[in-house]
Amino acid sequence: MHGYAYTVYILLIPFIIFIFLGLFGNRFKPMFSGIVGSAGLLVSFILSLTTAYRYFFASAPGEDGYTAIIAMNAVWLRLTETLHIDMGILLDPISVMMLIVITTVSLMVHIYSIGYMKGERGYERFFSFLSLFTFSMLGLVVAANIFQMYIFWELVGVSSYLLIGFYYQRPSAVAASKKAFIVTRFADLGFLIGILVLSFTTGTFDFQTLTDPAGPAVTHAGGATFLGLSVITWSLILVFMGGAGKSAMFPLHIWLPDAMEGPTPVSALIHAATMVVAGVYLVARMFPVYALAGIPALNVVAYVGGFTSLFAAVIACTQLDIKRVLAYSTMSQIGYMMLALGVARYGGHEGLGFMASMFHLFTHAMFKALLFLCAGAVIHAVHTNYMNEMGGLRKYLPITHITFLVACLTIAGIPTFAGFFSKDEILAAAWHHNKFLFFVEYIVAGLTAFYMFRLYFSIFQGKQAHYHHVPQEAPYVMTIPLMLLALVSVFSGFIPFHSLVTSDGLHLDTRIEWGVAIPSVLIAVAGIGVAAVMYRKESALPERMASTFRHLYTWSYHKFYIDEVYLFITKKVIFRYISTPVAWFDRHVVDGTINGIAWVIVSASQKVKGLQSGQLQQYALVFVSGAVLLILVFICLLY
């Protein structure tokens, strides 16, 4: 009927490649696995494009706009009569859009990695994990029920773990991967409990039932309450906790900067474009429930997003590791998306934020992947991560330079670049709902422009740093993905998102609100200007600024000491005051009791053995006492 059954191959191809490379990859030449991986992904990519074309453009949307299609569904595990985990494929505007995002970025990263990972040990392992990740991420976005999403959510987490820890002999990479997994796992706990609560209240896992405006989730919203909020709202907040963990929202963000220990293509794919937006996607997927049954939860989303975007932007201004700057920038941008979702409501023009969020997700995926890949090319050329050891690379790396500049302009929100359009929609949505958050976002926009151009000027302009050998432009296998992504970054702003991806599937009339857009562009330009003044030429200005705002600078440089707080809680509190005492308690109290019982029995038997001494007189004593006692007893009984 619908003819989308082939979409299952979009998922299966990466999975098969994962199994194949994981088991037999080391039998072939390294290059082979890269080519196999990329070729497989190319097929997936083409299939995704076809799907998108057929879904959006091959037929005009009906009365209800773009409706969801179940392309495939099979029961995977039957839990109760109503609750069953299915493996299904749900196609609706956002999942189709995500298919495009994931396969595009993943394909670019695959191709790029062929060059970037050349000569690394474990080449085939890298590609098999990349395929695993792609598979899991695709499974996540097409999930037809919330438990399926959780399953792939966990798989995404583990592939991220495996890829961050790719250089497993480097202790920092091992620590970072562990941290990433445990922090997100902790967040997933919230997600899981949220699912449990939700399924208990609504009796279903199915997304279509859950998000149906007339479905049980919405109609039960007025049910039982807990601490003043309805149970549904609580479950949504818990679900958002999962999303916040994956999307590195404050205070669960600490893993993301450390995750930059992974190979750069991984950072581009997982920690910039796809996995970290899973949280946004999750909220978007559940959006009708949030908007119709859990406005307080949506406010939580908005404020967490807004705060994170500001918080991360401030930190990004002071970091020196270029990948970390990009990581904080990612956090900040995801905060934008969360905020946009938070200020959106269901249906019609109220849903502008939803559309804006998805739009920004799309453009951000492209330009942030581009930024990371450029950073990878730079690191590849100069073998350092620190921007104070770089400078003047413009002449050596012309292609990287241009593409990086394009990406920076995009993220700064300069008109005609994609970022401008998507950011403008977000600001407009915020303007209509929450002025306070709107002004926060203005500040963030300025900071974004500032730190991105600080990065740009430090790397490509400024004084010529001393290099051990002359930096060389990356091979074509790496630069072609850069150029392609740059093209997308420039032009994706013209995709008519407002008619494709909306909260209720219907067409939405939007236009650029110049009253919002012009100041934001001016702020961005101002940010760029400040950055240019401070970093274009070598000057003492940055130093002076740092010493003027010394406290802010130090706090920001140390990421507001959040890591230390966590370290304190885990190392000092959990390990020292919970785990060690538990271990001690088990050995000495519980086991001690058991051993104590054994000891009592043994010593009692020693004593009993002592009675059996062979000492006639002792026996006699006992005998006589016994006799006397018996007599006493009889006397007492008789009288």
């Binding site: 062979g614 007189q617 006699a620």
Partner: protein
């Protein structure tokens, strides 16, 4: 000759003697003194038999004969016990009960 003496008086004497004997049996460590304590016990029992015979059943001689038999057995017991004690002394050079513990191990 026993007129005017209540039965109880004899019984008190024999009881006290009996328990003194038991006390000796329990506390002495020397085999011979233990033996002597046993003689005390037997003696007190004899008194009881005889006294009951005289006071309560004067038409019979059972208590009397019982005492005689007890005396005879006491003599036999003493003879055997002393034979054993002498043998123990030969083997252990001691007649302390605490030291005669070869069978224990």
């Amino acid at each position: 000759m026993h007129q005017g003496i209540p039965l109880h008086y004899f019984l008190i004497v024999s009881t006290l003697m009996f328990f003194i004997g038991i006390f000796g049996f329990l506390t002495r460590r020397n085999l011979i003194t233990i033996l002597m304590s046993i003689e005390l016990i037997l003696n007190s029992v004899n008194i009881n038999f005889v006294v009951f015979n005289r006071y309560l059943f004067p038409h019979k001689l059972q208590g009397h004969f019982f005492s005689m038999i007890v005396i005879a057995i006491a003599a036999a017991e003493a003879a055997v016990a002393i034979a054993i004690i002498i043998n123990i002394y030969r083997n252990f050079r001691s007649i302390e009960v605490g030291k005669v513990d070869e069978m224990k191990h």
